[in-house]
């Protein structure tokens, strides 16, 4: 395995560990405010410095990792399942169903995604993690459906599918046994890129003030840091670096997966 792949795997492992164990490892809790030491540079007591109201930045980032992983894995999973079932159904059935899904996909792709996410999150007065996940799934499935539909359209022209139809197998069985396994490769590639995309989208929403209320999202920390850039640039730099490292690692892993699989 190449060095870069190892490095990315290490970042992803670190991110997952931080998400799973982070809140337990964090030296300070979310309510440990220390207003006397607001916006202090990194020190022994606060390894990454402090932010607004003296919160410990390292602890906040560790808690943010859990939120990022929870949102990213749920959105990728839900979008994948939804996109896969719609895409396979449309591609397999063809005709009016396929044209209808094609039209929906086109419209969804013409809609600026961040604006749609914002509109949905703001439907609730105090958005929680579930609302953000829902908002990101609303257009998250489109990419998966597009890939699944396109692949299914080409798979169903294969002789083995025709043979299965001639044998009189029910359609659901053909879709499950003969079409679905062939979709695994392109969808695994799509999902590995998807993680980075969802982390970015969630951070952007939080950055714009539309993330989950009362949560240490990396995007919200970055927003806070940008407001105090002159006083304490490390808040913005550290939280942004966490987002950047995760997206880069997931994208490079996606490249690697796609190279290996295809």
């Amino acid at each position: 395995m190449r060095f870069v792949t190892w490095a990315c795997a290490a970042v992803v492992t670190l991110f997952t560990l931080a998400a799973l164990l982070g809140p337990a490892l964090a030296p300070y809790g979310p309510d440990d405010l220390d207003i006397a030491h607001e916006f202090e540079p990194p020190s022994r007591a606060h390894l990454l410095g402090t932010g607004e109201n003296g919160i410990d930045l390292l602890s906040a980032l560790l808690r943010g990792a859990r939120l990022a992983l929870a949102v990213a894995s749920s959105v990728v999973l839900v979008s994948l399942c939804l996109g896969l079932s719609l895409g396979v159904t449309a591609g397999y059935m063809g005709g009016a169903v396929d044209r209808a899904l094609g039209a929906v996909i086109n419209v969804m792709m013409a809609f600026p995604s961040i604006l749609l996410n914002m509109a949905i999150v703001a439907l609730v007065a105090r958005p929680g993690v579930g609302h953000v996940i829902f908002a990101l799934c609303v257009n998250g499935w489109v990419g998966y459906a597009r890939v699944a539909r396109g692949e299914t359209l080409s798979i169903r022209r294969n002789d083995y599918v025709t043979a299965a139809v001639c044998q009189g197998l029910p359609h659901w069985r053909i879709a499950l046994r003969h079409v679905l396994p062939n979709l695994a490769k392109p969808l695994v590639i799509q999902a590995s890129y998807g993680f980075g995309g969802v982390i970015l989208a969630e951070s952007s929403l939080s950055f714009l003030g539309l993330g989950p209320a009362r949560a240490d999202s990396w995007g919200a920390l970055l927003d806070q840091g940008t407001s105090y850039l002159m006083v304490s640039p490390w808040v913005a730099l550290a939280s942004g670096a966490a987002i950047f490292a995760c997206i880069l690692a997931f994208n490079l892993l996606g490249d690697d997966v796609s190279r290996r699989i295809s």
């Binding site: 600026p112 950055f207 714009l208 970055l222 927003d223 850039l229 730099l237 942004g240 880069l248 490079l252």
Partner: protein
């Protein structure tokens, strides 16, 4: 067998039908977007009348304003009024500034955003094209590796982070560029936002130019160009680049829409005026007509750019003139 004259007529019919089909899809898309935005915004919590007049305003004043803004009508009537307004070109009045029309607010903000988007596009294209040609001509080695890694990093760098980093380095530490909020009309204050907005696009276009150039350079006409003694630079820029440009320009065009929505974040970071800032402010203040106007303008530009890019493709590539179904069957 068709005569050449009939062939020409059929080509023209195909072209007109192709453009017509794409226009119809574009109009339908804008209509769906307008409808979605209308219902999404009207379901938002919060009373715009209370936002405008304040919570303590007398009930009569509230009712009067509610009637004036048609907010006392059922939602389907409001939708009808909104759609009728759209067809006649009116986007309504702003809730926050009742004397200002949404159109005038959009017209004021639009040039700032367009300037930012175009400069970002220029930065992205201006760097991606020469670097892509360089990357393709190198074939391998350290410099090529560095360019590829740079593109990967550029693609993964979120603009919500790149903006603050650039600002810390160039505005705060080095003092080379103005601080956010200082004179947004000057070219100096446009540089960092344009880089922030254009970096990801630059990375995409670099990779596309490089791979498109590599493919073109393997074609026989390139061997002919070299065989007849043309220099490397002339064969690269005179023969390979024009042939490799088509996918690059089309993707660049399609990305203009994405750039426009990206301005929401960039304008917030750099405190610049524009469609994105107008949208966010209107959004927090529940100024519904302005929010609708902003989203609609962005979606329309997105659809329009897509249609124009498709149209350009139809002109150069006759195979694209038939619908996908027929293409697949032949």
């Amino acid at each position: 067998m068709r005569t050449p004259k009939e062939n020409g007529r059929s080509r023209r019919t195909d072209l007109v039908a192709g453009i017509g089909r794409r226009l119809a899809v574009g109009v339908a898309t804008v209509w769906v977007v307008a409808t979605l935005v209308f219902f999404a915004i009207h379901l938002l919590p919060g009373d715009p009348v209370a936002q405008i007049l304040g919570e303590d305003a007398p009930a009569e004043a509230r009712e009067e304003l509610r009637a004036k803004l048609h907010l006392d009508r059922p939602i389907h009537e409001q939708y009808g009024i909104y759609m009728a307004g759209l067809v006649t070109g009116g986007l309504g009045q702003s809730f926050r500034w009742p004397e200002r029309s949404v159109g005038s607010l959009l017209a004021e903000a639009f040039p700032h955003t367009m300037r930012l988007a175009l400069v970002s596009m220029a930065v992205a294209l201006g760097l991606a094209l020469p670097l892509g040609v360089l990357g393709a001509s190198l074939g391998g080695g350290t410099l090529r590796g560095a360019l590829d890694v740079g593109a990967l990093v550029g693609l993964a760098t979120p603009n919500i982070w790149l903006g603050p980093v650039l600002m810390v380095v160039f505005s705060i530490k080095l003092g080379w560029t103005p601080l956010p909020g200082d004179d947004p009309s000057g070219l100096g204050s446009l540089i960092l936002p344009a880089i922030t907005l254009g970096t990801a696009l630059m990375a995409i276009l670099y990779r596309l130019t490089r791979s498109s150039m590599e493919e073109t350079m393997r074609r026989p006409f390139m061997r002919t160009a070299r065989a007849k003694g043309l220099g490397e630079a002339r064969s690269l820029f005179g023969h390979a680049l024009p042939n490799a440009l088509l996918p690059v320009v089309s993707v660049g065009g399609l990305q203009l829409g994405a750039l426009l929505t990206g301005t929401v974040i960039t304008e917030k970071i750099f405190e610049r005026p524009g469609l994105g800032s107008l949208f966010l402010e209107a959004y927090y203040a529940r100024d519904i007509p302005v929010v609708q106007g902003c989203v609609l303008v962005m979606a329309t530009i997105y659809v329009l750019v897509n249609a124009l890019t498709d149209g350009a493709y139809l002109l150069v590539d006759p195979r694209m003139r038939r619908p996908v179904r027929e293409r697949g069957a032949s």
